[in-house]
Amino acid sequence: MTDQLGALTTIFTEFYYWITVVLMFLIHVGFCMYEVGASRYKHHQHTLMKNTMLIPLVTVTWFFFGWWIYWAFPTGPGLAPSIMNGSAALITDDSLFSAKWYVPTSDLMAVNLGDHISGVFWAAFLLFSWTAASIVSGAVIERITTFAFGICAIAIGSVFWSIDAAWGWHFDGWMLKLLGYHDAYASGVIHAIAGGFALGILIVLGPRIGKFSSSGEPRNIGPRNPWLVTIGLFLIYTGFWGFYAACNIPIFDLGPEYGMEGVTYFTATNIYVTPTTLGGITMNFLMSLSGGLLAGYVIAKGDPFWTYSSGLAGIICASAGNDLYHPIQAMIIAMIGVVIAYKLHYWVERTFKIDDAVGAVAVHGYAGVAGLIICGFVLNGYPSSGYSVGSMWVGTDYAPINPLGMFIGAVIMFGVLGLIPGWIIAKILHGMGKLRIPREVEIAGLDYNLLEAARNDEKAVSSSTR
């Protein structure tokens, strides 16, 4: 960095993403509190540690291969040629945005004076990975083994979400080109896929003991500590500010980027490098949160657990198009998403005996899918990219946003990259006898030994005189 303007832009961008990482850390704090609040006393400590340990497991694998996948897979491979090198193969050549620079042995994956941005960008995406894994964590509490959850967390956090981000979030992604896929704040690439993945596991894992009566009627279990759930969800809301900011590029000159001669146009952009404003997305974030809360309060008859979750579901549903929506559109879309997610949750629970302990499949999966489909209609005709826009199915050009493309995109996110891999991995773990804890342990409580040891310590201490 030798000129002042370039240095200022680079260091501002570096600091901007760094702040988003710190804010997004609160999402994980919130998920931990939420899960502990939703679980029963005898499972608290294992529930907490299960979600906590996904941090190192996903982080290390994100360093090993998750980040590489994101940069290597935008072409499919084999589905659409890259706009950088014209090839539909994995992007591992010498081009600027190649995966070649992000293998774990690369000197760019470390303190490097020549690259201030890759590290914070790596971290921002890693925090998205934690979120994806943490969404799954809540659904499976009180009966999955920590080992099995670790494998599932690595799969969703460092493999499948990274593939979907390459396909549907990367500026060179094949889903933008062929489908006109648009998902500015991750209705699909984080939420729908994580919800689908969780559902795939739940199908194999089965419900908690006692969740369904002998006649198949579902029973409500908890939450044991509604106040911890409340704080947890407020922290997730807070972390979502960082999530939204991290999905933007804070300052970018689109004139030369789009090849417009003599044009200088500095703006914030979304992840696709198309213009938006931090102010506009902030309004939409708050209006979609409000729409979710309003609808949730009515449909759940004031139940705090569902009302708070509906605030989140509202944001998630509007997120695909919150870079462009009007705030009132965002609010209405959020309300629609919440009604769909709530109704589907109970229908699936009753019909298929699926025990989604925290409503994660509904809040993230169903609301995310609904958001993608709605986005296809509301943003129909908008360009999915600024680089070049053509008609659908034209290879190197980018299809405009359209309802069919967004519907197919939703199926890919929820089903192809979420539900199916989750189901297959759970089946394998089940076949190995590693998926579910023994029935006797589930009844006694995962924390039984810890509680017993604490009780013995207490007795020993209270009977001591010196």
Partner: protein
Amino acid sequence: MATVTNWIDHLSAAEVQGAIYPGVGTEGILVIVALVIWIGWHVLTNNSESKELEQLARKRHSANDHKSNITEW
């Protein structure tokens, strides 16, 4: 091991070397070490979890037994 021994020399070079961590060039070995740690951790924790679950399952506690262990520190 030190990649930089004089900052003035380092930053005034015709082409400033970006990587400044100790042991530039040993990244492959570091990755292998990290892989061994990572795999080893999974093996260790899987074994200990299996053992713990087996032992607890054999005791066949009822659903409310844990309540007698709630502490009042």
